[in-house]
């Protein structure tokens, strides 16, 4: 049963008994009262703009006063679902003094007063089994705003994969859009999903809305232990923002006769899936092109059922905004088997290369390469060479003999784990690291996965959660410099084993020799408001011995970095460790005996950056406790030019979504989505004290 609620909560019961016109009134009045054009600066898309910049020219908060920031208001998301959420990743929008965001395990939509945090309206769709079964539960990354100057709409995708258009003033579904404001994204998909409740697809990115076109991607369960190689295909679709009518579909896995179909040997395009676009789509409205950063095909670490290069998996594809026709593409990894899927929104930057202005698209990656192309033609700005890579020996696998390696900019994050990467604070630690890793394979980027054996459990790598993940990068449109967070120590071991009967039709899935192979869950799976999902079978999941030496991380710092990449000349302008050294490292007897070590940063894949007129701003994702403050995390600001830290303020919880900034009533605010550990989802809004 589907129940839709739109309310100020306090009057919910009364509203249900009254007419819809009356029901709209309180939300409308609240939004009307909060709306202002007085001293406002807006943040109208997930990434601040469709170019993916996460940039705002505001400068009221700057190096001289960042340390004085205080919490102006906080909004807890616990009530937006049947249980609290501990993975709040949504970045809010700010439009004329009103904040719009998704939140909670229900992925509800709320409108808040931007100056006070007061709830103005709330909308939620109760989807029952369809939401419980979703591969992408929880609050999602956010929503989108559209206006033609008269109508104002909020667009988002529910946990159950429905596209909803809401009146931004009232929170009521737009009756002219789809069916009563809703488009069922599991239909009209150029493929049959079977049962609409269980058919596997969802998405948690915010829709990309350009002109009258909404672009929607697709995401799936994690690809460590997929049930079938013939999973749902992650086609990208566009819809009319006024009517919800489907405008076009781009087949990320080509159909017979379409370009790229022959890159799936033995007609394997017909029986493989995934290849979705789960990260944000960027749009160049002048060129009329949408940029799709496509993920891997099924499955993440075994591609024996999909021989060939597998277009458009792991490609950057530019499609015509109006028609969805492919204008150009570039495959960044051929026949991908490392879970190094495209994770970041394309960054549409205007730079000057060799004295000539150039419109480029830059793409950060899990593999620490920052790819740069002419965004009109798809030509690499600096040569990308096909480099021979090692062939593995996994039975039934197909290997690409080469992979594309950019010549510029240089690698900005660790993308392999070799002896030189191992901890070496002391000779004893290095010796122990070598002993530990003797049971694994080490190697550079694109070292192929192995079958797990008691002698070699797997390949130690920085694949699934390393480098730059879903928060992506940011950039300064004035200088042409990109600011990108990367994890350098999100390491794991990956080996393959045959699945037990009934788990998967793929011959090899992720497992560890000597331990049972079990289904591995993806982000938020089974944790949404409509869970319980089907119970997990009893039994212990596999996990190799800890990749730690005397309790310290196996690899050297930095564990997490922010890099400033100058896209005018393909150089790294500066790079810093981001994040306080973790307590268990800083307080370790060996480290203390050494007299301490420079700040290490933190191993996490949750960090997104915000760029302002003068600052790069990012919070921490781990709790720490230092001599001068209690347990918490810091929100840090860096000088954009040098990377020098110019201020930091305390957060009672940890950053879990990317921060944004806006102004209302002449006051600049920064909102940080926080959650983790014992802290459930909460938006923290910071501003400068009114009186100083």
């Amino acid at each position: 049963m589907k129940i839709i609620s739109t309310l100020p909560l306090s009057v919910a019961a009364a509203l249900m008994l009254t007419t819809s016109a009356l029901a709209q009134t309180p939300g409308k009045e609240g939004v009307a009262a909060a709306r202002t054009t007085n001293g406002v600066a807006n943040w109208t898309t997930y990434n601040a703009d469709l170019k993916g910049s996460r940039y705002s020219p505001l400068d009221q908060i700057n190096a001289s006063n960042f340390k004085d920031l205080e919490i102006a208001w906080r909004f807890k998301t616990d009530i937006l679902g049947s249980r609290p959420e501990y993975k709040l990743e949504s970045t809010p929008l700010a439009v004329d003094g009103v904040i719009y965001t998704t939140g909670g395990t229900r992925r509800a939509v709320v409108a808040l007063n931007g100056a006070t945090g007061e709830l103005l309206w709330q909308y939620a769709m109760h989807e029952g089994k369809r939401s419980a079964e979703s591969p992408r539960a929880l609050s999602g990354r956010g929503l989108s705003y559209w206006t033609d100057g008269t109508k104002r709409r909020i667009l988002y995708v529910t946990i159950g994969y429905r596209l909803v258009s809401l009146d931004a003033d009232t929170g009521r579904p737009d009756p002219e859009f789809g069916t009563n404001g809703v488009v069922d994204l599991k239909t009209d998909f150029d493929q049959d999903l079977g049962d609409l409740d269980t058919g596997e697809v969802g998405v948690h990115s915010a829709p990309a809305v350009s002109g009258n076109t909404i672009i929607i991607g697709a995401a799936f369960r994690e690809g460590f232990t997929p049930r079938t190689s013939n999973n749902t295909k992650g086609y990208v679709r566009a819809f009319d923002v006024r009517t919800g009518k489907r405008l076009w579909t781009f087949h990320t896995v080509p159909k017979p006769g379409e370009f790229g179909y022959d890159t799936w040997l033995n007609k394997s395009a017909d029986v493989n899936g995934n290849t979705g676009v789960w990260t944000q789509v960027s749009v160049d409205e002048e060129l009329g092109l949408a940029y799709l950063a496509v993920e891997s095909a099924t499955s993440d670490f075994f591609g024996g059922k999909r021989p060939g290069n597998n277009l458009f998996a792991n490609s950057l594809v530019a499609v015509d905004l109006k028609t969805g026709q492919r204008r150009w593409h570039y495959q960044l990894i051929h026949h991908e088997i490392w879970d190094l899927d495209n994770s970041s929104a394309p960054l549409l930057m205007d730079v000057t290369v060799d004295g000539k202005p150039k419109k480029v698209v830059g793409l950060p990656s899990k593999q620490g390469f920052f790819y740069v192309f002419d965004r009109a033609t798809g030509q690499p700005v600096w040569p990308i060479k096909e480099v021979k890579v090692p062939k593995g020996n996994v039975p039934g696998e197909w290997y690409s003999p080469t992979q594309p390696i950019p010549s510029k900019p240089p690698l900005y994050a660790r993308n392999g784990v070799e002896e030189k990467d191992l901890i070496d604070f002391t000779p004893d630690l290095k010796k122990k690291a070598l002993e530990l890793t003797s049971k694994y394979v080490l190697g550079p980027v694109y070292t192929p996965p192995i079958v797990s054996t008691p002698e070699k459990f797997g390949v130690i790598n920085n694949w699934a959660q390393g480098g730059t993940n879903w928060p992506g990068g940011s950039f300064d449109p004035e200088s042409g410099i990109a600011y990108v967070y990367a994890c350098g120590a999100c390491i794991s071991s990956t080996g393959l084993l045959p699945p037990p009967a009934g788990l998967s039709d793929i011959p090899l899935v992720v497992g560890v020799a000597g331990q049972p192979v079990v289904m591995i869950k993806g982000p938020g799976e089974g944790a949404g408001a409509d869970s319980p999902a089907p119970a997990t079978p009893p039994g212990a999941g596999s996990g190799p011995p800890r990749l730690a030496v005397d309790g310290l991380p196996l690899v050297k710092p930095p564990y997490g970095t922010i890099s400033a990449i100058d896209v005018n000349n393909g150089t790294i302008k500066w790079q810093i460790a981001h994040g306080e050294t973790p307590d268990f490292v800083r307080n370790h007897p060996t480290i203390k005996a050494m007299g301490g070590i420079p700040r290490t940063g933190q191993a996490t894949y949750q960090i997104g950056t915000l760029v302002t007129k003068t600052l790069v701003i990012a919070g921490e994702n781990q709790f720490t406790r230092t001599e001068d403050r209690p347990r918490g995390a810091m929100l840090r600001a860096y000088d954009k030019q040098t990377g020098a830290e110019v201020g930091a303020v305390f957060m009672p919880s940890t950053q879990s979504g990317s921060p944004m900034t806006y102004m209302v009533g002449g006051k600049q605010y920064i909102i940080v989505p926080t959650s983790g550990g014992n802290a459930s989802g909460e938006f923290l809004a910071y501003a400068l004290p009114s009186k100083r």
Binding site: P84, V518, I520, S531, G539, G541, R546, Q622, G677
Partner: protein
């Protein structure tokens, strides 16, 4: 024990403040070996599929062992940890174990993270567990 009480009070970590009042610490042997043994069985049945046989985590389920896990709970209380587990785990069916079973699982986690065994079992009441402070580092003199 050393907890920086004024700082903690300043930011309103009430649970930790209570722990300080009672002066109990996770380093004082607050669970029994039998309890941890029972907890191992419950863990294998209800937790291990996601968090791993060796508590190392799988996929998105985080490790429940090691410095990162322990320092994550530094200056919180055993009650905080207990209620986090009780109200949210197993993720697909929270609050589906008995209070005793949750306490047993907690004892198992504490044992695996090197906190000493004692003679009295962990209480099953959140408010009592909230009087036991977690510190990542063993306080001097304990």
């Amino acid at each position: 024990m050393k907890i920086a009480l004024p700082l903690i009070l300043a930011v309103g970590l009430a649970g930790a403040a209570v722990a300080q009042d009672a002066g109990k610490s996770v380093w004082q042997g607050i669970y029994t070996a039998e309890q941890a043994q029972r907890g191992a069985g419950v863990y294998a049945q209800r937790c291990g599929a996601c968090h791993g046989a060796a508590l190392n985590g799988t996929g998105e389920a985080p490790p429940l062992i090691g410095g990162e896990f322990v320092s994550h709970w530094d200056t919180m209380t055993v009650g905080d940890l207990y209620d986090r587990v009780r109200t949210t785990m197993p993720q697909n069916d929270p609050m589906s174990l008995t209070r005793e079973e949750y306490a047993d699982v907690l004892a198992f986690l504490l044992k695996n993270n090197g906190f000493p065994v004692g003679s009295q079992p962990l209480d099953k009441r959140s408010e009592v567990l909230a009087t036991i402070g977690i510190t990542a580092e063993k306080p001097a003199g304990m």
